[in-house]
Symmetry: C2
């Protein structure tokens, strides 16, 4: 599974793995892929530093990267408190009522909400970058829009490639104009923030739109067959996020959530604004249904929605309130039916990839040397 | 492009083309694919007979098939007039008001609505079958649910394979239990009635669910690369519908609609209940937006919605009211940028397929004999 991009980065397989867990990121790189640590949950620079130190100690010298969230639209000079003040009381009441209906206990006095919106704010992302650029990261990915020009320049000065997610060809061309090195084409079926164009259509469209920039295909990929299909569509690699959530190295801090992920089918996700205010694919739960219900108050725009629900999400997760408990995940969740090690996932991907290439060669009437 | 199924049917390419136009169906089969004529618009048996005669005269002895619409849920013994009576007056008024807002002229006195809901009713489909079984069709496809057991038996008696569309693995297994021979896995990105699972996820899921039944991948396929990707995912063939709409053999009776299709991007479709009452992907127009608007009356269930809008759709089409003018089409519409012959589409598909296989072999490090 070698492309121009994987050779450039010095990895064995053109498989990029996005994960919030340092142990998963390191295991992906050790298995011959390219691990990318999601930084959004690190509000304290020292926590990020601690986890990057851990990765350095466990990645065996293999390359890895960091994913930050810098919204394209920033509200300059607005404090978290000022943003908080924009949330209507009716929406706060809806959160309280919904949690009460399901008997969700409160956090202990002084206990911090684990999931914080602050990671979504540019100043926090910049602090993360100040930390990360002291480490030999090879890739910096941004989940929302192109990073600011000075961040791209800073990355390039350090020989760090910059990647950005796009849900349309138009969006991808904007990244190209902003000097991005790699576009991640995020299909409708992907977990997290996603547009409406499915990978089968989006991948070649983005490849053609930004040629000769390399494109990673994201969305709907969890088997070697799907890796082969995505690369057939012109991608120079695949970007997998969901599949790692049920690996043994992942630490969801919630056996109930792991059980829900293992039990969910491909039809059990929904593209909802419930989590952040922008459409993001996640497990369909009674929580997402409450927000998507026309009878409710509806969701608020980003970043208000994330701020509004942050504590509620923490409470639901801490107390594992099953009917409300969810997480961003793609339609590939239907394929996540057992806990496996990251290495076992890679073994499955590479074996499935070879079988898929065998198959397409038979269909093409080519008796290749395999 | 040879699979077990394409060999069984005696076609050169495992490409199945669905089309309402006899000239397109015949051209697909002549080009080495398998043409499937959509029968839903034939309310008069003689019209279907005339067009099947035409295909027989122009298909050069190649195999072809027929696609009918037999809803899984039937309302036994209910007449069209009785169904008509179920439509609320408020909805009829909304149709009149919307047409008036856009100044859509009325049909001439006694002029029949071209698009008729009656094709969606089982008795009409059965009449179509009575006609079709007198012709050497090799495939009978059904767009909604499994055909009734007696129809499957009748087809099998005549050595006609039966195919049915499915949007989920559960749906596909139901077809298998009903004795269907081929499942068409219709992804989210497809034109017409479609579910929410995208092809990248749906295709392998359905293949595994109904193994060893052959599966055709539908949705998002309009290039040879996409054909290769779909076959890589385990399909035994691809089922293409949208791509033929802008071929020179197609007769949309509307230059304005052809222009709209050629200009539309992959993001210009919507999955809406506006046309039939079930979610169907189509061009996004001010007509679909009126039906999807929460301020409007909303759509009615199938078959009421189709009956409600039939005349309106005819008027919009006849007078080519551009802002309202639409058609079922998939996200692949973004790739339909010029009018080409069916043969030119096939040349493009086969060339693109070979290039895609070359590419995946290079990535796999195989220097195959190409």
């Amino acid at each position: 599974m070698q492309t121009e991009l994987s050779r450039k980065l010095g990895v064995e397989h053109a498989v990029f793995g996005f994960t919030p867990f340092p142990a998963v990121a390191a295991a992906i790189s050790r298995a011959g892929g390219f691990g990318v640590l999601g930084a959004v949950r690190y509000t304290a620079p020292d926590d990020l530093k601690r986890d990057l130190d851990w990765i350095e100690a466990h990645v065996g010298g293999r390359p890895y990267g960091l994913d930050v969230v810098m919204p394209a639209k920033k509200v300059a000079g607005v404090s978290e408190a000022e943003v908080e003040a924009m949330i209507p009381e009716g929406h706060r009441q809806f959160v309280r009522d919904t949690l009460a209906t399901y008997g969700v206990p409160e956090l202990a006095e002084g206990e911090a909400s684990g999931w914080r919106i602050t990671g979504w704010m540019e100043q926090v992302a910049r602090t993360q970058l100040d930390v990360a650029f002291d480490y030999p990261i090879r890739l910096l990915a941004n989940a929302l829009g192109s990073p600011p020009a000075d961040v791209v320049a800073r990355a390039h000065d350090r020989n760090v490639l910059v990647a950005a997610l796009a849900g349309s060809a138009r969006h991808a061309r904007k990244h190209q104009e902003a000097g991005i090195d790699i576009v991640v084409a995020q299909g409708y079926e992907a977990g997290g923030h996603t547009g409406e164009i499915a990978s089968m259509v989006l991948t070649p469209e983005v490849v053609e739109a930004v040629d000769p920039l390399p494109v990673l295909a994201a969305g709907g990929i969890g088997s070697g067959q799907q890796v082969a299909a995505a690369l057939t569509l012109g991608a120079q690699g695949v970007w997998l996020g969901s599949i790692w959530l049920t690996t043994t190295e992942a630490d969801l801090h919630s056996p109930a959530l792991t059980r829900k992920l293992l039990a969910a089918g491909s039809g059990d996700t929904i593209r909802s604004r419930a989590l952040t205010g922008k459409p993001a694919r996640q497990l369909r739960t009674e929580w997402t249904e409450a927000w998507d219900d026309p009878a409710g108050p509806g969701t608020l725009p980003m970043p208000l929605q994330g701020l509004l629900v942050a504590e509620a999400v923490s409470r639901i997760q801490k107390y594992e309130v099953e009917s409300l408990l969810g997480t961003p995940v793609g339609q590939i969740v239907g394929r996540m039916t057992s806990e496996r090690s990251v290495q076992a996932v890679f073994d499955d991907l590479t074996r499935g990839f070879e079988q898929a290439v065998d198959r397409i060669n038979r269909i093409a009437g080519r008796s290749g040397p395999s």
